[in-house]
């Protein structure tokens, strides 16, 4: 148990979506998700939009509470905590968001934004806070003068660094980064990714990295969970996932990523159709409606997670079938 900083066990979350004349519909946003994160590593959740990866992130920092299942953080069962009990724990779990501008209160100065966690979680005087904020501005590649400015004066990349600085103020154990670079231009994206890695080394951080971009994920992660329609279909260390993907969906996803190398011949696996609605998820294996290898069994029986080798879990009746 203590090997892990975060442990998610069979977590499910549904949202109620009303439709028409008061008929209730349930959106199965997260469905029986389990994974573990070791201290100091970067665990990534990848998947397409609507697969529940962001919801999973919010379940871990208690912005949402799971209906069933448990979330453990640093030896505490946070899924059972009240908002009030959770508040001191929040110091150790910080978050970085996709939209760097929206995540900052546009009416506050940069230095007040970065200093806010200190104001909430420590008893520092305002001078001590300012000193710490200025140190952090330097760390993320800005300077003290930037602290006097307001968010609208900055570019997206700079704002994302402000967001990172804020997450760093209270020396958290875990940083949940929800698509931190997908709104940024490529050249800026590299700056932010490098900064995140640098900080991880210097401050022994653990990351939960949520992204749809498999190339970015490959660069930054140690382990990866691939999500489809609210569930994790495959979890594996980086090398195994990219080198020997066992789930047909992982395989397709990898083949669909455009590679910036025109000389590389590649075989793209094209999926049929669209993502099924999470309101009405398919029976059996969630992927069977689009899976080229689906059989009768797949449409009836939901596969359980199988451990192929150490730390390599897959939810498929026929693992590695796509590898021929």
């Amino acid at each position: 148990m203590n090997d892990y900083l975060v442990s998610v066990k069979n977590v499910s979350k549904t949202f109620v979506a009303k439709s028409g004349l008061g008929k209730k519909k349930f959106v199965h946003a997260v469905n029986d998700v389990s994974f573990n994160i070791r201290p100091g590593e970067t665990f990534s959740l990848v998947g397409e939009s609507g697969c529940g990866k962001s919801t999973t992130g919010r379940l871990i920092n208690h912005l949402l509470v799971p209906e069933t299942g448990e979330v453990w953080f640093d030896g505490q069962k946070i899924s059972a905590m009240s908002e009030k009990e959770m508040r001191p724990v929040r110091k150790d779990v910080q978050m970085i968001f996709q939209d760097p501008y929206g995540a900052l209160n546009s009416r506050m100065k940069i230095q007040d934004i970065i200093g806010e966690p200190l104001l909430i979680h420590t008893k520092m005087s305002s001078r001590e806070r300012l000193k710490k904020v200025q140190e952090l501005l330097e760390v993320v590649g800005l300077n003290a003068a930037h602290g006097e400015r307001y968010p609208h004066e900055f570019s997206g990349g700079q704002l994302q660094r402000v967001g990172i600085a804020r997450a760093m103020t209270v020396n958290p154990k875990l940083i949940i980064a929800d698509e931190p670079v997908s709104a940024l231009d490529v050249s800026i994206q590299a700056q932010v990714l490098n900064l995140m890695q640098e900080l991880q080394q210097d401050y022994k951080l653990t990351y939960l990295f949520i992204s749809h971009d498999l190339s970015v994920v490959e660069m930054i992660s140690d382990s990866i969970g691939v999500m489809y329609l609210g569930t994790i279909v495959e979890t594996a260390p980086k090398k195994l996932l990219y080198g020997d993907p066992a789930h047909p969906y992982t395989k397709t996803l990898l083949s669909a990523v455009p590679i910036p190398d025109p000389t590389r011949e590649k075989k793209r696996i094209l999926l049929k159709g669209d993502l099924p609605s999470p309101v009405n998820p398919p029976s059996g294996c969630l992927f069977h409606t689009r899976c080229p290898y689906a059989t009768e069994k797949c449409s009836q029986e939901r596969p359980k997670a199988v451990e192929l080798e150490k730390d390599h879990f897959v939810k498929c009746h026929y693992p590695r079938i796509a590898n021929g």
């Binding site: 397409e48 939009s49 570019s155 990349g157 700079q158 231009d185 490529v186 050249s187 800026i188 994206q189 590299a190 700056q191 990714l193 490098n194 890695q197 749809h212 971009d213 498999l214 190339s215 970015v216 490959e218 660069m219 930054i220 990219y242 397709t252 996803l253 990898l254 083949s255 669909a256 990523v257 455009p258 590679i259 910036p260 190398d261 025109p262 000389t263 590389r264 793209r268 094209l270 999926l271 159709g273 669209d274 993502l275």
Partner: protein, 332 residues
Amino acid sequence: MSERLLDVKELRTEFKREKSWVTAVNDVSFFIDKGEVLGLVGESGCGKSVTSLSIMRLLLDTSGRTSHGEVLFEGKDLLKISEKEMRGIRGYNISMIFQNPMSSLNPCMRVEKQIIEAILLHNKISKQEARQRAFNVLKQVGIPDPETTLRSFPHQLSGGMSQRVMIAMAMSCEPELLIADEPTTALDVTIQAQILELMLEIRDKRNTGILLITHDLGVVAEMCTRVIVMYAGRIVEEAPVKELFASPVHPYTQGLIASVPKLGSNVTSLPSIPGSVPDLSVMPKGCKFAPRCKYAQEICHEKEPELTYVDGSDVQRCRCHIFHEKKQEVRA
């Protein structure tokens, strides 16, 4: 020599800011041949979308104006013809698809009506024929059940589906040129793969020229025959796709290609380009990239370089004062 479709010459587009005009696009010249996919790459704010809107003359409703240059399409300068004539070309000879398919469709109208309207705008055929044609194009873009799709409202379609509908609409009059402005940026990778495949298929079948505007070098590498790289409203490099990725000459292109994580490359850190894109109103005097360029010398800050052919090549052009030395460096 294949047939020339579109020839853009020294295009300059400006926007009104407060009381002065700032130049968003300057000295942009390029051409597209029939059946060719030309990639227009750059980061946000580099003027790639403005270029396409200038070609389509869709800047009228903004504060922008095209103050210089020619856009030759089938021998006609699109910048000089009347608005009425232009309307006849838009959607008929040149079609456009946009990044966000959802907001490009009218949410209050059935798909059917929107496609039929687009068809009837340019063709003197009966409504019945137009509907049949709408059905056919939807089928051609790979929509499994065109009848249901025709009857549905845009919000009932998924992102990938609505982009297919947009493409169907754009293709309904069989245009010679398709301008695709970030067509897959809002879509998931698996759906993106489907849409890209579809665009290539259309190109092969109809010999349509495609101007593909994107920031994604991966998409460029898979789709394009030639590529134009834009930075701060200028073309900084132009090359066939293989040359561009194999031996990029402009420091910006080099930086851009290096800073993209590549699947399977097994790196843990990426070279990045320092700084950020300059604001339109405070452009540096010389080379626009000089402040971020690690090779920048005195002349780079003083004088803006011209877009000239790279030594020993008649297909690769570059806008840089000192590219000769650097090219060798890259190859070394």
